[in-house]
């Protein structure tokens, strides 16, 4: 259990329906489903993967929202201890993009010091050049990035359907997060997670029931 591998909590965030659970599924077992809505999100919680960066292995634990963003606020506890947030939008839905500054504020407030990564999903659905419609254009993206330059640690475009860009994204996030901790080593040692944390040395050989 207690390997020395650096490990990072990454939370998914963004409007409902932009494909957060789809990204989660690609991360977890490289699958894709057309199913949509609340039902398709059930059971997805968190998933840990070890990523080989050549010189070093790094663990990423990705958290899905549990669909809690649909009707209400996601709650502060989701953000606790997050090293990074993967902020998702759909490249062909401007609304899911323009709301992102609000999400950034939530992340900055609730997960102090978390790195923020931006991910445009559904690139497979982009029409030919010039048929943008409601799509998020390069100009939109440039504008947004210049507004929050220092805040973003990475910007990606992916498609969960044809699986393009995803592995590269996970790997790049792992690399950035690892580099960041190398520059400021912080370790928390006295944390207790009941059921996980080894208990104090036993002086008596009593049986435990859980």
């Amino acid at each position: 259990m207690a390997t020395g591998i650096p490990s990072f909590k990454v939370i998914l965030h963004g409007e409902y329906g932009v494909g957060k659970s789809s990204i989660f599924r690609r991360f977890m077992n490289d699958t894709f489903t057309q199913a949509t809505g609340k039902q398709s999100t059930i059971g997805l919680d968190q998933c840990t993967r070890t990523i080989d960066l050549g010189s070093q292995n790094v663990k990423l634990t990705l958290w899905d929202t549990g669909g809690m963003e649909r009707m209400s606020f996601i709650g502060s506890s989701y953000y606790r201890g997050a090293h990074a947030a993967l902020l998702c939008y759909s490249v062909n839905n401007k609304d899911t993009f323009s709301i992102l500054s609000q999400y950034i504020l939530d992340i900055v407030m609730n997960a102090e010091g978390a790195k923020i990564f931006l991910c445009g999903n559904m690139t497979d659905q982009l029409g030919p050049e010039g048929s943008e419609g409601n799509a998020v254009t390069d100009t939109d993206l440039d504008q947004f990035m210049s507004q929050c330059q220092d805040v973003l640690s990475g910007v990606y475009r992916v498609s969960c359907k044809d699986s393009s860009g995803l592995e590269e994204m996970f790997r790049d996030m792992a690399r950035v997060l690892h580099q960041d901790t190398m520059s400021r080593m912080t370790m928390r040692r006295d944390m207790i997670r009941p059921g996980d944390t080894p208990e104090r040395e036993q002086t008596t050989e009593k049986k435990r029931c859980c």
Binding site: F27, M28, N29, K38, Q39, I42, G43, L44, D45, Q46, C47, T48, R49, T50, I51, D52, N57, G66, G67, M68, R70, M71, S72, F73, G75, S76, S77, Y78, R80, G81, M109, D190, M191, I192, R193, P194, G195, D196, T197, E199, R200, Q202, T203, T204, K206, C210
Partner: protein
């Protein structure tokens, strides 16, 4: 919200969130509403500090006590027994992975105006200045007996009939009134002296819970979550959501819709969500509850740790009722920046007790005196409610208000009892199967 659900849960306090999670896991379709804009109801942790000032109708202070955002102030302070029911629920439901805990530094008991570390094992008992030399030996024998006791092995009863009263057991070991006081109140955590007439088995079990909890992580038998207790209901809400539960906050409920004496839905004034069962806290169904008492609590901001606790960063002090001529104990809980609930160099202490007089605030004096000067104090007196009936006919199952105890054992008793009344069976932990995948490396 005009859909059909199996259960509608109202209020996102800890009890309702645990139930919502357990019901979703059991395959029920759950809608969970709250009239507030935040999770937790009465078991929320308020943040930033100005929200606490607002809550108590005082002018805001901004960053007067360090950064306001660093504060997460529980309205109802409690600690988790490391080997208690809530920790078991957290582990078996997997919710423990959403939270982080730290041990509470110290557990103290009040005697004759001073506080003493609670001696919980034979070694500590012998070193304690709480008792004289002969009393120490008697108490040591008592602890040894409790440690060796095995409910299923009559040999370990050593001639004591398990139905013998707690009082008689004390007498058998010759424990004096002082020792009885801290055993019953600081180890067994009884709230008043009515337990003396209960069985010695109950006393023994409670003492064991204390010592088993203590042996888990050291220092004290108590755990406390980082960022405050408000994290707990949120953890269980996430569990519920992951199993399909739908959440709506900031949703005022207009009325509970009844037909033939049982519930059929909940209306927000416009739409009606249908359901066959409601679970809620007393504030959502006042007319179906009775007032059973009051609790007075004082939330205090300190700029120093509590005296004679070796500068503990978190501590519980129990003032047994006998020591101050009362019927109910007074509790002091203190937490600090180590648990991420306040700004550095500040301390958050809460003194609470069950109201016995017309001047509740004065009842807290023995506890407040231990704090030796507070920077700020927020006093609240809240009514405690219980449902009028068990909900079997109306199918409206109402939780009890949170009592003055500083641990979650009574909270869990209520939750497990409600679950059984709602579903007719005990919760099946084997139904918990959500992803905790450690995907294989590349």
């Amino acid at each position: 919200m005009d859909e059909t659900y199996d259960v509608i849960v109202m209020g996102t306090g800890l009890k309702e969130c645990i139930l919502s999670g357990m019901l979703s896991v059991s395959g029920k379709k759950v809608l969970h509403l709250d009239k507030n804009t935040y999770y937790g109801g009465e078991s929320a942790s308020l943040t930033p500090l100005d929200q606490v000032y607002q809550h108590f109708g005082k002018p805001e202070v901004g960053d007067k006590f360090g950064r306001g955002r660093d504060w997460n102030v529980d309205l109802i302070p409690k600690f988790l027994m490391a080997n208690g029911q809530l920790v078991k629920l957290l582990i078996h439901t997997g919710v423990t992975r959403y939270l982080e805990f730290k041990s509470v530094d110290g557990s103290y008991v009040y005697k004759g105006g001073k506080i003493y570390k609670v001696p919980a094992d034979e070694r500590e008992a012998l070193a304690s200045s709480l008792m004289g030399i002969f009393e120490k030996r008697r108490f040591k024998n008592f602890l040894q007996y409790v440690q060796d006791y095995d409910e299923n092995d009559p040999k370990t009863f050593k001639g004591v009939d398990p139905s013998m009263s707690a009082k008689a057991l004390y007498e058998k070991f010759g424990l004096d009134a002082n020792t009885q006081d801290f055993t019953g109140h600081a180890l067994a955590l009884y709230r008043n002296d009515q337990y003396m007439a209960l069985t010695s088995l109950d006393l023994i079990k409670r003492c064991r819970l204390y010592s088993d909890s203590l042996s888990r992580y050291g220092k004290s038998p108590y755990l406390y979550p980082l960022y405050g207790l408000g994290e707990l209901p949120q953890g269980f809400a996430r569990l519920s959501a992951i199993y399909g539960g739908t959440y709506m906050l900031d949703k005022p409920v207009d009325k509970i819709v009844m037909e033939d004496g049982h519930v059929v839905g909940v209306s927000d004034g416009k739409d009606t969500a249908k359901c066959s069962v409601i679970v809620c806290d007393p504030t959502y169904a006042q007319d179906r509850c009775k007032k059973v008492g009051q609790v007075v609590r004082a939330i205090c901001i300190l700029n120093h740790p509590i005296e004679n606790t070796k500068d503990a960063q978190s501590v519980q002090i129990i003032i047994p009722q006998n020591q101050v001529g009362r019927k109910d104990d007074i509790y002091v809980c203190m937490v600090s920046a180590t648990h991420n609930v306040c700004a550095k160099n500040y301390y958050l202490a809460i003194v609470a007790t069950t109201v016995e007089t017309d001047n509740p605030e004065a009842e807290l004096k023995p506890g407040l005196d231990l704090l030796k000067g507070v920077e700020e104090k927020f006093v609240s007196i809240v009514d405690l409610y219980e449902p009028l009936d068990d909900g079997q006919d109306s199918k409206i199952f109402i939780s009890k208000s949170y009592d003055a105890t500083t641990h979650f054992e009574t909270t869990c008793d209520d939750v497990l009892d409600l679950f059984k009344r709602i579903t007719g069976e005990d919760f099946d932990f084997s139904k918990v199967k959500h992803t905790d995948v450690e995907a294989v490396g590349e």
